[in-house]
Symmetry: D2
Subunit: 318 residues, 4 copies
């Protein structure tokens, strides 16, 4: 194949970013016989002075994605992984400050939680008493998310989670809605409300001079508020439950300015058992068909008054 | 459970949308013994005057998501599915014009292509000669995408595709890049370039008064230009190939103003066979390890000069 | 289309089975304000006198798969779901005893576990003290499995689980293996051992006259033994760990005669950080790359002496 | 951690196998400017004299799974990949004949098909006329499967495919079935019949002295017969269609002795549009809801008379 002459520029380059996605890094630390795990999936996206690589293929400004992968591993060893957010901050700062053509770095991290096997004899110190300080089972609930963006001046940190599946088996109704010529839905006075939570929350912290939040504590508390709001809200609609989940976070967590949720309404339909002479009554305990598709999808942002909305509208692609 | 009093309003509602996601509708049409399939996955997102349902749970403005699902099925029968884009336009117009509280509708559609079984005897009329006009095999390559947004005045139509996997087995190199203390990558003079294309393109058409594009023809041609640009570009970097794919569309398809691609660099690493006394040379035909993760991720927008960028930056969530 | 004459019989029918797969049934029971969930995915496979439906398309012996689905829902209401195994026994007996052409029924069940939200105030009675007795979060670890087969005379019950991800961060080595001309692997003196457990165990119970095991207690205990064996075995090879997991079940659970495991060796490779002047030493806490593919796959059966092996050899399709 | 003494032997080891699963190997060959791709996912499972590694952790008989991976890559270079079956035969023979403790090898291969981009100018020689002989798009339909088992004496070759999605939009009915107290299904006189084919077929070839089949030609023809039987059978039941698919292969392909299919009945339900004043009539072209779960699952073996059934009963795990 003959190498062709480089192409001309008939169309304009817009926003662009590049980096290594999904670097799977596991950091083990040892505290005597007691080990600790941080299990991350790190994606790097860099932007800056990158016109030439698009227009002519010149890589003179391109730090290879392979290098961004190596940096993730090296930083995990050199600086450890105190929290996903902290790790993202260290990485983003490095890329923006060490490479002149790079003006902006965004680090996205998925974190998988592990818990100890056989902690029954644990003495409250976090050290298992039974010699299994190095044995773990993956927790398996939500995937924790962290996103750090840095442009050399301001920080934006958005934390979150996905795939946290929750259900209220009562305490939910759906009535009084609009009807048009395509409406056949029956009102529900006592329904199951189930969803798989996808949420993001943005921190007010933007400046190195400010004290940073305790990222681990903030995550644990935010998750707990979200779950409690879901459990304790008598629900007239999933929108209302969503708003309560967001509002409770804003009310209780001063470090957070904005929350966005994408909540599928995971329909649990009462099965019609009348043809078989059975009454499928909720009060008595009922049988439901858990449907896959289609599903309602309820999405909204809840903001601290006076704050700007910056989390993108679509957390999923459907 | 006691129904609690409705909550107060300590936090502000931001952008919100709701609707039924992933309604799987298959529309068969019969032209004598020759049948035609449109196989869609339709997601509806409605926005408007929806404060109350979030703050108090009042559904007085809420058309149920179940109704949006019914509407999809009814429209598929009543108006047919000429193209995914046309179908989305009909649906979006309906929701915005028929429901006062709804100010904006966005319809997202995935389309799965089918081809005929046993068309060997086809006579060019599209009618199979052998009595199998009702038998199909799913094409299985890309998923076609269409997104229609309507606010009562302007239309925005974004088409696209995902999961179109392509490979150049030569005609790609990667050299002359930046090196820092974390760089170990060797230059590649003849590498495999493979990716799974995720692309979106926005049409200039915004107004009912303008003639609408031929959506089916536009898709077929755009896909073809994209593939040809991938195949015919000698690649110094995946960024350059991406730009050529976008630029070729802008150059050849007047109806399209903006293109965005998200291209994973699906690494095919040359296996080191030296320990076994084998030279794994590309010129001679080589053996590659197709890696899963991590992967480079290259994303960019290509715009017609003078046009505004409106396609969101992140087509995927990593 | 003309309905053709029915085909002749040039080839012989072998083993066959049919039924409705993946009926998603959720059974809620109410104990005052405290609710309980059983969340199942039930697949029915029936066999018997089914030659004609294959040879000629006569459905005279075919109970529709839709009916087997209805039966799952009706039984969930009428008899409840004490355990997946018990539910499977009731269903299998029904199909074999109520339909003359059906000679054998196999019921496969996946079960998803839920735990309560906000049980901190629970008083040990299983009743949450705080009014959230109807709020749940999906546990998210393993999927529990049950398979019941009945031929009108004997029962076979196989329980199990899949997708239980575990890790030992030390206590594992791999040395002293065979070397041939394709061997390049370095010995490992202190490695991470991680796997995603897929296991099945067969009960000795086969006869209605025998007392049946306590299925729930048996599952909980078997899972615990499996985890403890994984955690407490110093591992010279994953084969040895697998055997200890199976043997410990056989040793402690008299009701179980046979165990089979399929254990991927989920490789965690020590990252080479030497090029960056960093020593990535395990004793000091190390950084690993968690690889996706390829992976070792270790599979074996462990049997109570004198018992027959009946669990199929391949639990997965790779 | 103290290394414990090696465990005693209270339970018996049964069938066991091990090896590297899912080695992703891509073999490119060059015929001038025209390249050819073989894209495989290879899983090796070895059995033999392996008691000690399970009982005591001694690896003295264990060829590392890493070595089996290396062997896959080295063989792909040294011997090429003429067909997946041939490649599996070479590998299986190598492991069994070169390692004394290994008595049996099973090689499972998934193959992904690619087609050329821009072959419009091709001249029938297989060489594209337009300089894009190295550019490919992944075909995306079925995954081709091959499984080779060797015990040092006899060969067993099973080929197959999965995820081939097909649909007849008419020419199918379902009537005359058994009714019991749980039956509510209405008879269907003109329904959509759709499935995602999972099939396996076993060759009569077992002996190196016999001439081996042309594996590529056999696959292409078998796939074609399967599709034609699906398309051309007026279907009274999916069982009947399945049998015709298998029987046609047995009738036309002498090299094949046994076929097994697992066919989900991918339900396309006619949507009830009567509430909206629309008649959803099949004769006129209709609208269907394509359901995910549950689905009928129809599985059967079709045998050449006098041949033994050896393909396992369950091709999937549900």
């Amino acid at each position: 194949m003959t190498v062709p002459s480089r192409p001309s520029r008939p169309a304009i380059l817009g926003q662009n970013q590049y980096g290594k996605a999904e670097t799977r890094v596991v950091r083990i630390t040892r505290d005597g016989a007691t080990h600790h795990i941080k299990d991350l999936n790190v994606s790097v996206a860099l932007s800056g002075d990158m016109e030439e690589v698009h227009y002519s293929g010149s890589n003179a400004h391109v730090l290879p994605t392979d290098t961004t992968k190596n940096t993730v591993y090296a930083f995990a060893k050199e600086y450890g992984v105190e929290s996903a957010e902290r790790f993202g901050i260290d990485l983003a700062r490095h890329f923006v400050t060490s490479q002149e053509p790079i003006h902006r770095a965004r680090i996205r991290i998925e974190e998988y939680a592990w818990e100890r096997i056989g902690t029954s004899g644990a003495d409250g110190t976090g050290h298992p008493a039974d010699g299994t300080g190095h044995s773990f089972v993956r927790k398996g609930q939500e995937t924790r998310l962290a996103q750090v963006t840095y442009d050399g001046e301001d920080w934006e940190v958005v934390s979150g989670l996905k795939d946290l599946t929750v259900m209220n088996s009562t305490g939910s109704e759906f009535r009084g809605y609009v009807r048009d010529e395509y409406t056949t839905l029956q009102e529900a006075h006592d329904r199951v409300l189930a969803t798989s939570v996808s949420g993001r929350w943005r921190f007010g912290w933007t400046d190195d001079e400010q004290p940073a939040p305790d990222w681990e504590e903030s995550y644990a508390q935010t998750r707990q508020h979200m779950l409690r709001a879901f459990a304790e809200t008598y629900s007239f609609s999933l929108q209302q439950t969503l708003y309560r989940m967001g509002a409770r976070i804003i009310e209780h967590r001063d470090e957070i300015d904005e929350v966005r949720f994408s909540l599928p309404n995971s329909h649990h339909f009462l099965v019609d058992l009348e043809p078989f002479g059975l009454e499928n009554d909720t009060a008595d305990g009922a049988v439901y068909f858990a449907a896959d598709r289609p599903y309602g999808l309820i999405e909204a942002t809840v903001l601290r008054e006076g704050c700007e909305a910056r989390i993108p509208v679509d957390l999923t692609n459907l």
